[in-house]
Symmetry: C2
Amino acid sequence: MKRIAIDMDEVIADANIRFAEWYKRDKGIEFTHEQLNSKKFSELLPADHQYLIKEYVYHDDFFVDLELIPGCQEVIEDLYEKYEIFITTAAMEFPNSLLPKLAWLGKHFPYISWTNIVFCGDKSIINADYLIDDNVKHFKRFVGQGILFTASHNHDVEWDVRVNTWDDVRKLLL
Amino acid sequence: MKRIAIDMDEVIADANIRFAEWYKRDKGIEFTHEQLNSKKFSELLPADHQYLIKEYVYHDDFFVDLELIPGCQEVIEDLYEKYEIFITTAAMEFPNSLLPKLAWLGKHFPYISWTNIVFCGDKSIINADYLIDDNVKHFKRFVGQGILFTASHNHDVEWDVRVNTWDDVRKLLL
């Protein structure tokens, strides 16, 4: 059985929506979906608001109850029939994310066992056939095939295998 | 540069001493080092005390400030000069262990970056040349060479590459 490793943020969990919610709460400024999808969140903020990004991602509640990226639940459930599925997230950078991420996975993907959840940093440590991720940096030393999941920050990045939606993942792997 | 993945409990962190401390505190019964080193902790307890083991490992403080396995700091520091070092621990089974384990690593191995720490379950997901671990189950589907670190529970387990101490690791890999 081939194995797929799947990233969390911007692949199955939408951290961008949380950024936008909190920014609206704190500064009263709202972004459209189009803006959020076209640029990195940091590029949308003026220089004197950049500090908020770090403040947000290190806040205990930032990773709690993030919204799902559309379609991921349905497609992963179908992939699960034909592949070994591992969730592999570079969570170690944000210790505050560890328990919320685990709770989030338990809620939205209850059939994925704790044995198949990986919190890491450098993803070259992952032994899988495919890695679905929004950061090409993780593909450089990865043993399998990197599949770039389109996110606001990677529109201009070159990579040979790219998917824009979970429907694209279904077409590619099922 | 070759890569070594190193387990935590019973390889660099001594959970057995914590078991013994808490058991003495709760039941007034003390074990000798010889007893602790020769049998699984559960084999030392009478049937009506077995429930304590689960109670302990799921307690928030169980993994806090565990003692170091002798020699691990010195040898890992030397290995670090010649190998990529990753810490790979099946921490997902015990969500209460995640933050204490991260804090413990920061305290005792401050030079190991967050990028090289992996909390996982099934270690066949680990891509490394060597895995130093006290559980042979992790070697079955591991891509590299498993190195069995002797612990009280694995004396009778057969495995071709075994080390009894960190000095043995030094002799094997340096």
